[in-house]
Structure formats: C-alpha cells, structure tokens
C-alpha cells in the first residue's frame, strides 16, 4: 500500500526510502504525524506502542497512508490523544541513553511487523 514512515530512528531511515526523517525527538515525530493527519493523510499504524516500556523508547516510527481531501476526525483524535498521553508519561523521566541501540532495533522490528500486516493491500 502507499505509505510514508515518519521516523526519528536512523535504522529505519537507512533501510526504507518511503520515509520522512525527523532529526529530533519522539515528540517531534508525533507532532509531524499530527500535522500530516490534519493535512488529510490517513493514519496507518497507531502512534503509541503496546507497552509502557516502549513508550520510554527514544525512537518511534509511525506509518501514514494516502492523502485525502478531507481530514479523518477519528485519526486526528487518536494522534492528539497519543501526544497528550506520551507527554504525560515522559515529562517525569530522563531519556534512557544506555539502551539506545536496542530501542532502535525494537522500533524497526515492530514497524516491520506493522508493515507485514499491510502487505498486499491497495
């Protein structure tokens, strides 16, 4: 399917061409996703991970799809709520420096798992 990966993960940037690189934080990545959703892009993968520990990851990759003429209000709600929730959890924490490489790998693997769900779709 037609998609763009919004990412601040260098491993993803190296491997995929259909990506938009964010030279910044997870929050900046989510904000870019939010801006694109408001421009009409569909959200393909959920902006948040499935566990609190992965919310502390310094890397995040989110897949957006086609650009439509109209904004999808449900998707706008999801990305807005995700940013609020993300900030709630991370404001009180330090960025975890020691495991950066493992977080990069996990983000890539979970992204690829999401991409495989979307294989063969228009």
């Amino acid at each position: 399917m037609k998609s763009i990966i919004i990412t601040n993960n260098p491993l993803v940037a190296e491997k995929y061409e259909n990506m938009f690189w964010i030279d910044g934080s997870v929050e900046e990545t989510l904000v870019k996703v939010r801006d694109m959703v408001y421009q009409g892009y569909e959200l393909v993968s959920h902006p948040l991970a499935a566990s609190l520990r992965m919310l502390f990851s310094p890397y995040r990759s989110v897949i957006v799809g086609r650009k439509n003429e109209k904004l999808d209000f449900d998707h706008a709600q999801i990305i807005e709520d995700s940013i609020i929730k993300y900030k709630n959890h991370t404001d009180a924490r330090k960025v975890e420096e020691s495991n950066r490489d493992d977080y990069k790998k996990m983000d890539l693997l979970l992204l690829e798992s999401a991409l495989s769900d979307e294989k063969g779709k228009w």
């Binding site: 975890e96 020691s98 979970l110 999401a114 769900d117």
Partner: protein, 428 residues
C-alpha cells in the same frame, strides 16, 4: 468437554539428582534438566536456581512464568503445537504442581525489566512471590538474531515446565477440580433463563517481545477465534511477550486465567458462560477495525447478552478495548471492560489513551505508574545490571542504602488485566 485438574500441593522445592514430589516437596534433577534444555543447540549455558517465598531474593529480568504440569489422560503432554505434537487441549486429566513455578530469565534486549521480589514491598505486588520458583537463566550462543533468541528462551521455559511437571505423574492429587461444559446449545437448553456471557481476551500480538501463541500459531496472524473455556486452562495459550512486565499475561496466568475461572464458577448459577474469543491486538488501525468487527460479529452470531473484555498491555491496545466496547454496546450487548490504568504517580491523570461514552462498566486492576520501593536484595538471580534499568527512569530513584524506587510497571503481574494478581479494587 470435560477437564479435571488434579492439584498436587507443593510446600517446598529443592535441587537434587531426580525429579519427584514427596510429602509436598518438589525435588528437581538439576543436571538432567540442564541436559534436556541443552538439546537445543542455540543454548550456550543454563543456570538453574531456586527462589522461595520470604527469601531476600530478586529475580530479574523475568521472561516468562510457567506452571509445571503433566497430562495423565486425554490430549498430549506438554504444550500442544509448541513443545509437543498437535492435540486437543481441554479434555482428560491434567496434574498440576500447585504452588510451584518455572521462571525464565534472559535478556533479549537491554531494557527488559520484569522483576520478582520474594520479600518486602515488591513481594506484595507480584503473585509470583508466593510460588516456589525454579529459575532457569538461559544464555544463548553468540550471534543469534533477536527472533531466534526469543524463541530459544520461550521454548526452554516451556520444556523446563514439562520436565518438572513429570514429577506429578504418579502422585495422587490433593484436590481435583472439574471443568465441564457441553455445547452452546446444550448449555442454553439447560439454563434458558440465565444471561449468555462471552469472554473476549485481548492479546498483545505486535511483533518481537509482543506476541502470543495459540496451539503454537502466532496470534498476530489470526482472526479472532473462539475457544472452549477449557482449552486455555489446559496449555493451549502461551506468552511470547516480555516487555509489559506488570500487565503482560504470563503463560502461568493463561493456564490459570482468573476471568475464565470466575466466569466458570458462576456458570449455571448466575450466568451461562459460553466461551472465550481470543482477540489479537494489532498495531495498525485497519487491524484494530478488523479484529473488533470480527469480535462483535462473533458475539452477535452466538447471541450473547453480555461480554467481558480483558486487555493486555497499555497504549495502542486501549483503542481496541474501547472500539470493541462501542461496537458491542451499540449492538445491545452489555459490555464490561477489565484494564489497568496509567494514571500518573498520583493516580490523577486520565487512565487510558482513549475514551468512549459506551464504557460504563470498567474494572481497574491498578495504576501502573504507582511508585514502589524495592529494598536491596541479598541475592539477585539473573542480571544485576538490569536493576539499573529499573532505577534509570528519573533522578533520585536510587537511595544511598541501595533501595530503589520504581513504577509498578516493572513488577511482574502487578496490575494483571485478567485479575491474576494481588491488588484489589473498591466499588465506586
């Protein structure tokens, strides 16, 4: 389908030269177990140890917890489709070493946490501080890629539980629990006036360290599937998930799923419990829509009056939980949700990442952000460096006396969303 669970009460555990149970004491043949596990050439080293309730022992990072069992009649021994050949789960007689647990330790990634403290404040929160634990620390050969590494550790845990479970083969159980249920039509004829209730069990199915398997099938690849209530109680479902420590469902918790047991206890009394729908939690929005549509369709097809839904994990699965709720409530099915909360350290923030006006019956299993103090351990089983991961979250988490503060999030099973844990709740 009729399943008899024969509980052999375990009161102590020790290592020895043979594997057997005598007078409630479980002895495990350490050398034999290591040799069996090392049949897997991907394993370099195995360290076996023991942790008993009350000991000042910390186990970290925990990968999975598994209840040792042995099949006496019906089906096949082990975990069908995974550690043994395919067979039907949920029938016949299974002996359980009740009170014992196999705890696997192994870090696949550096940020794994998953702590079990056998004493102190930590012990109050994890249900596995009360079990007699056989710890299996698995080191793999160099260069194993992460999926292969995870599979090696997962299989080693299941095979260890199977090995230890053999000790219960020729022992008369202290207690026998019977779980019997006919077809949906038979039960509905028997209890025509009772409300028909289904249980939807959501499972994290999103990739490495975030997976669940049913009869060995990676549940990421399934449409929601209907299981007889006996199947999960008899080794059909296993965990491949080891990141969300507090609310991941360990294999042990699948084997003893509290929601299934509680619904079973009310079957024929207050409700007609029809079975379990196993619901994958996808990371894509289309996957979430597909799984929730399919779940709601099964609920309607089976004519259920009510649905209990339990979540696994936190974050994007909150959306699945609430979409299922919306769809089923709109179809006239009374829906109860079980989830934990991520409500900030003071418990005052919005608990979930999503909301729905239809979610009017919600059971909380605890606040994952609640801060606990873990005292310094006399002995650490696993990787002492992993403690730094726990303490690494914020300034001042590590005190001068060696005690550390961490969020409940790191404690295995502390906020179990299927209610297999120590926290309780109050009705408002």
């Amino acid at each position: 389908m009729k399943l008899e669970i024969g509980r052999i009460n375990i009161k102590d555990i020790q290592l020895g030269n043979e594997t057997y149970v005598k007078n409630g004491v479980l002895t495990v043949d350490k050398v034999g177990l290591i040799a069996t596990l090392k049949e897997d050439e991907r394993i370099k080293d195995i360290t076996i140890d023991i942790a008993k309730p009350g000991q000042k022992v910390r186990i970290i990072p925990v990968k999975d917890v598994i209840e040792p069992r042995v099949k006496i009649t019906g089906g096949i021994n082990g975990f069908p489709g995974v550690s043994s050949k395919q067979a039907q789960c949920g029938e016949g007689i299974t002996h359980v070493l009740y009170g014992a647990a196999v705890v696997t330790v192994g870090d696949i990634v550096g940020f794994q946490e998953g702590v079990i403290d056998m004493w102190g404040e930590g012990a109050l929160w994890t249900p596995f501080s009360k079990t007699f634990n056989l710890t299996v620390d698995i080191n793999v050969i160099d260069g194993l890629e992460p999926h292969n590494h995870e599979e090696t550790v997962r299989l080693a845990g299941l095979r260890a539980a199977e090995f230890v479970g053999q000790a219960g083969k020729n022992v008369t159980p202290d207690e026998v629990l019977t779980y019997e249920m006919g077809s949906i039509f038979e039960e509905s004829t028997k209890y025509p006036n009772l409300p028909k209730v289904l249980y939807a069990e959501m499972m994290i199915t999103q990739g490495l360290l975030h997976d669940t398997y049913i009869y060995g099938v990676n549940a990421q690849t399934i449409l929601p599937s209907l299981l007889h209530a006996n199947e999960e109680l008899d080794n059909a479902v296993i965990s491949g998930n080891c990141v969300a420590a507090c609310d991941k469902i360990t294999t042990y918790q699948h084997q003893n799923n509290s929601v299934i047991l509680d619904l079973y206890a009310q079957h024929g009394k207050e409700i007609n419990f029809m079975g379990c729908i196993m619901v994958p939690e996808h990371t894509t929005l289309s996957g979430k829509m597909r799984a929730s549509d399919y779940t709601a369709k099964l609920v309607k097809m089976l004519g259920a009056d009510a649905l209990v839904v339990s979540e696994e994990g936190y974050g994007n699965p909150d959306s699945d939980l609430l979409i299922i709720c919306k769809k089923c409530e709109k179809a006239g099915v009374k829906t109860v949700l079980i989830t934990d909360e991520c409500a900030g350290r003071d418990g005052m923030s919005q608990p979930l990442a999503d909301t729905a006006v239809e979610a009017v019956a919600v059971v909380s299993t605890g606040n994952v952000s609640h801060v606990v103090t873990l005292l310094p351990a006399e002995k650490v089983i696993g990787k002492a460096e992993a403690i730094a991961v726990l303490a690494g979250g914020w300034e001042g988490a590590l005190s001068a006396d060696g005690s550390l503060q961490c969020e409940l999030n790191a404690v295995i099973g502390a906020t179990s969303e299927i209610g297999f844990h120590n926290a309780t709740c109050r009705l408002y």
